[in-house]
């Protein structure tokens, strides 16, 4: 009995230490990223390539996600509002729901699925094929050449994607509101515009910047620490997406607490 308790405690202890060690490594990686970000050289061409890959090429998936989410949100709020005769709140709740929560969170998660996996797979493959070592021998710091452009690009691009997603999501709600729920077009737009505050949009974009940073950081961290072989790259890709998604959800709660509770 005592043996099994000791063994269980040992397992808990080992898991806790291993979790804290992993957390420490991620935090150190983040600090190193910040440190390298403020000193040259800066690889501007790589930054623009990353902006296109992370930002521009994510637009279709963000747009589709936002459009259908906005539409579904309008249907749900209408159905829920009907229980206490508050169907008229659909435009305002769709707008606030999209800009404060669903736009940044769903946008962040979609970018995590698309970008964290691709960054981890790309850098992981570079690691196992010695391309990272080759960079070092070519007088180039992998952190500056690979990590910084991706992290900066994601931190800049995701808030912009969130803003576009917000607009498309609100438009999705508007389309459903007009075509399926019988709202008046002008009244829907007026309700949306009157109710929405600048801070609603800005807070979502700040969340987007944080999520973009998390997504690229996790992709780069797991890619750089990928073990040898195809299995190692696969594991790094999976870990990057899971870690980025979980961190997005945790940081979303923390930021919401910070922004909206008094």
């Amino acid at each position: 009995m005592r043996m099994s308790i000791n063994s269980a405690l040992g397992n808990i202890g080992r898991s806790t230490i291993s979790f804290l060690a992993a957390l420490g490594r991620v935090v150190l990686f983040a600090f190193e990223t910040f440190r390298e970000m403020i000193s040259g050289p800066f690889y501007v061409r790589e930054l623009f390539v990353c902006l296109v890959q992370i930002g521009w090429l994510s637009l279709p998936v963000i747009g589709l996600t936002a459009l259908f989410t906005g539409g579904a949100l309008a249907l749900q709020i209408y159905a829920g509002g009907a229980r206490f005769n508050a169907e008229a709140v659909v435009p305002s709740i769709v707008a606030i729901g999209m800009t404060r929560e669903l736009g940044p969170v769903l946008g962040g998660l979609m970018v995590a699925a698309r970008v964290a996996s691709s960054i981890a797979a790309e850098i992981g493959t570079m690691k196992v094929t010695e391309q990272i070592d080759a960079l070092v021998t070519l007088s180039t710091k992998p952190m500056k050449y690979l990590t910084i452009p991706r992290v900066v690009a994601a931190t800049v691009a995701v808030p912009l994607l969130v803003a576009v997603g917000d607009a498309i999501g609100i438009m999705g709600g508007y389309m459903v509101g007009i075509s399926r729920l019988g709202f008046n077009e002008a009244a829907y737009i007026k309700n949306t515009v009157d109710f929405l505050h600048t801070w609603d949009i800005l807070s979502g974009m700040i969340k987007g910047a944080a999520f973009g940073f998390i997504v690229a950081l996790m992709g780069c961290y797991y890619g750089m620490n990928s073990s040898q072989g195809a299995q190692g790259v696969g594991k790094a890709t999976k870990s990057a997406v899971v870690a980025a998604s979980v961190l997005i959800l945790i940081s979303n709660y923390i930021l919401t607490e910070a922004f909206f509770t008094k």
Binding site: M126, D133, L138, S139, T140
Partner: protein, 248 residues
């Protein structure tokens, strides 16, 4: 020029290098031979600073390499990696001119491209391949591109990690000749890791055999051919019986 003094390197309980001592003179070509997993590549990684030795010193021109400026070291260094290690997202000429497109050696795109094409010619590749991507080339061509990248900045020190892996005997011979030519022409100091005895004979001024974490034998090609060291003899003749344990 490069000296290793009592270099130890372990990974957990796996003691890979157990006191390696060796040196390479300026403009000389040293080939390190030894069985798979004996730590040959770790020696190169320790010299490059990609791995940190647990004990011992590595000297470059008599100075501890860890106290010299790494950037200055890499500025006059080139390396041919086992798998080529070409960057998939860049064209062939951008790979070859990588050092000249950024950093201290930065040149204009046109200048860098011209130098890349000249280096590609040097390794027997036509200018037409310059705008292709590495994935569009055969294994032998990729190795040549990697060789062109290694010599692009006219390095004083070049490392070749298993330059013939995955190549047919003819292409292997071509790469060996190119390496010898480059080392002689450029008067570079070279360290090569290989299992291929024809490469050893073609490339080496001096041979060092790594076994059980230490340099077991060192000498010239002529001395190697005449040596009666049982480990060396077994290795160069590819015998399955002898003092080196083989797993069947």
């Amino acid at each position: 020029m490069i000296q290793l003094q009592n270099v130890h390197k372990s990974f957990g309980n796996n003691h890979v290098l157990k006191g390696v001592n060796m040196d390479v003179g300026k403009g000389k070509s040293l080939v390190i031979i030894g069985g798979s997993g004996t730590g040959k590549s770790i020696i190169l990684k320790c010299i490059l600073g990609l791995e940190k030795p647990n004990q011992g010193q590595i000297l470059l021109h008599g100075k501890d390499i860890n106290r010299t400026n790494r950037e200055n070291f890499f500025a006059r260094f080139g390396m041919l990696f086992q798998g080529g290690a070409l960057f998939d997202s860049l064209t062939v000429w951008q790979n070859v001119a990588f050092k000249m497109l950024r950093g201290k050696l930065k040149k204009t795109n046109a200048e860098a491209r011209n130098i890349a094409i000249e280096k590609l010619r040097h390794v027997g590749l036509k200018p037409e391949v310059a705008d292709k991507y590495p994935a569009e080339l055969s294994g032998g061509m990729q190795k040549r591109v990697s060789l062109a990248r290694a010599i692009a900045a006219n390095p004083e020190i070049i490392f070749f990690d298993e330059p013939n892996t995955g190549l047919d005997p003819i292409m292997s011979g071509v790469i060996n000749d190119l390496i010898r030519e480059i080392v002689v022409e450029m008067k570079a100091t070279a360290i090569t890791i290989t299992h291929d005895m024809s490469s050893v004979r073609a490339i080496a001024d001096k041979v060092a055999m790594l076994h059980d974490g230490k340099i077991r034998w060192t000498g010239s090609i002529e001395e190697m051919e005449q040596s009666d060291d049982p480990y060396l003899t077994q290795f160069i003749n590819g015998h399955s019986h002898g003092p080196i344990e083989t797993i069947r």
